[in-house]
Symmetry: C2
Subunit: 346 residues, 2 copies
């Protein structure tokens, strides 16, 4: 069968932004029955939605030492891989049967043969948009939950700041914070995003960091008493300004530092002495340590999602051909909300 693919062409140099031309769309073929080959426990899936995530920048690097990263790099000449939502077409694995919907690691192509499908979650609830399993109800959602709930233990009345707040993770952090009775402010990079944060996502306040010449002053404006919880998605100057505004016993969940991923040298941070002065905890985390909490997470997020008390903004492009541009947009910040590639409507 014909199988359109997004091929990763070559490694992206340190300090460079990824470009569309680092990938190319080609056509290959795939054998429909290969999942059922003798002894295989693989599944053949039809990809429906693919997820564009910031961590994928790390997979475009050439690693001199594989221990440098917790995930392997993409293979030049092979399809880009990432998370997605897919329908099982053939299964050699006892846990999956034809027709099942799954989300998990897959390829940027129409059909994928997944040799170890146990890394996928079966989708049990289909009365929500399926694409949500690339975002709100998938890895980014669990990331928000782990970083905000597990690491920061929010309490009613606490003040919460979220950078990249309209992104795939930030949107949910803010809405969880509101459910917990916190005061929530988000930063984002355009007026459109700021408006969405305030008018659609229920943030108490939001600002465009590009319009603030003094981030410290901006934070003091929104947090005259300081910040209890900072959900860190960007790093660099924002982090440095936040450190000056943390409250006593504040907590910083370090989820990502997207402003730093395409720099040759990371920006410097000067205000770490504030960690001592304010006795602040700052913790890096990775969702891969929290997948065992996925059922608990769904239990918290699914009901308010169905009731419309949690909403989710997606930025969806159609067709694999649009995939490379969509992935690249993530690093320019031109996406509005979770960046998704719709591969097939079935």
């Amino acid at each position: 069968m014909r199988n359109k693919q997004v091929i990763f062409r070559d490694f992206v140099a340190k300090g460079a932004f990824p470009k569309e031309s680092d990938m190319e769309v080609t056509e290959s073929t795939i054998e429909l029955t290969s999942a059922l080959a003798e002894g295989s426990r693989g599944v053949l899936v039809k990809n429906l939605y693919l997820s564009c995530d910031p961590y994928m920048r790390g997979r475009m690097r050439k690693l001199t030492d594989p221990a440098e990263s917790y995930i392997p790099s993409f293979q030049p000449g092979s399809p880009v891989t990432g998370l997605g939502v897919a329908r099982v077409l053939e299964s050699g694995h006892p846990n999956f049967k034809k027709g099942d919907l799954v989300w998990g690691p897959t390829g940027w192509e129409e059909y994928s043969l997944l040799p170890a499908p146990e890394t996928c979650f079966k989708i049990e609830h289909t009365d929500v948009p399926l694409s949500y399993y690339t975002g709100l109800l998938g890895m980014p959602g669990l990331t928000a939950y782990a970083g905000f709930i597990e690491l920061c233990s929010p309490k009613k009345g606490e003040t919460v700041f979220i950078s990249a707040a309209s992104g795939a993770v930030g949107q949910l952090v803010g809405q969880l914070a509101k459910l917990f009775g916190c005061y929530v402010v988000g930063s984002a990079g355009s007026k459109e995003k700021v408006d969405l944060l305030k008018n659609k996502l229920g943030f108490d306040e939001a600002f465009n960091y590009k319009e603030e010449s003094n981030l410290d002053a901006a934070l003091k404006r929104y947090f005259p008493e300081g910040i209890d919880i900072y959900f860190e998605n960007v790093g660099g100057k924002t982090l440095d300004a936040v450190l000056l505004n943390m409250k006593l016993h504040g907590r910083i969940a370090v989820c990502g530092m997207i402003s730093q991923y395409n720099l040759e040298q990371p920006e410097s941070v000067h205000n770490l002495m504030q960690l001592i002065k304010k006795r602040v905890r700052m913790e890096g985390f990775n969702v891969i340590d929290y997948y065992h909490l996925y059922p608990k997470f769904l239990e918290m997020v699914l009901p308010p999602t169905k009731e419309g008390r949690i909403v989710y903004i997606e930025d969806t492009v159609e067709g694999l051909e649009s995939g490379p541009a969509a992935l690249v947009r993530l690093f320019s910040g031109h996406n509005v909300g979770k960046q998704v590639v719709l591969v097939a409507r079935e």
Copy 2:
């Protein structure tokens, strides 16, 4: 009665090292009976040992906003204040009686009237050197315990790095780490200190950071598999190099950043992305949050101290006249071990 005092003359500018001449030794008088004045719950004490501690640099600053710091600045024209060991001469407080030994906040003078002695601990165990209550068995010891045991939860076999390792706090962190079965490396600023770490304090390895042109390479030499726990006393370049060498799920207890206290602008740190990559927790703390654990701490540290399994190096100067120089030495790193001022032998 005559009362020799160390007077704080004036605030020390930002970015300047404190000098002996920022203080002066004068003579005043004190009324022996004032502690017993009508309604007073104060005590009059004879100071025996005074403690020189890095946090005292912060008290030499002129604060424009008192909220800038958790402790008030010294008063120009008034005695330096700090922690010390003292004998109660007169008491108006029900918990203290004449002859009691205490440690806690006192003045840099021969005799002090302490209006709120409940901030002092009564010394119950006198079969150890009394001066230890300024260090090993006092605030620095509890600091080591809180940061290492409470924040870092060390496990047998883990690797531990300690900067300013021969200092008042570092010495005990290293010895606690050895008691827990960890591999321990310390850094310090002279050959003499390095020798003490290895030969007297039982560290597995130690190095002189001034002789390492590449701290990252030095750490890789001692920690080829990385660092599980870093006890941070210095900040700046050392922290940046440590971040590159942390192990997965490493912990950094941020106790102090003495290399930064006398700089106009703090040094920059570039490697915070490692917090995400290695999922590292970095936590600032202050011993004032842990005084309730003092009995638990003593229970752990007192027996091995009496048995000689924990030792402690002090750098003692005699007489209040030597106090200013002793305090200043702390910031040049010329002290070897805990810096103590012996005021009176009784």
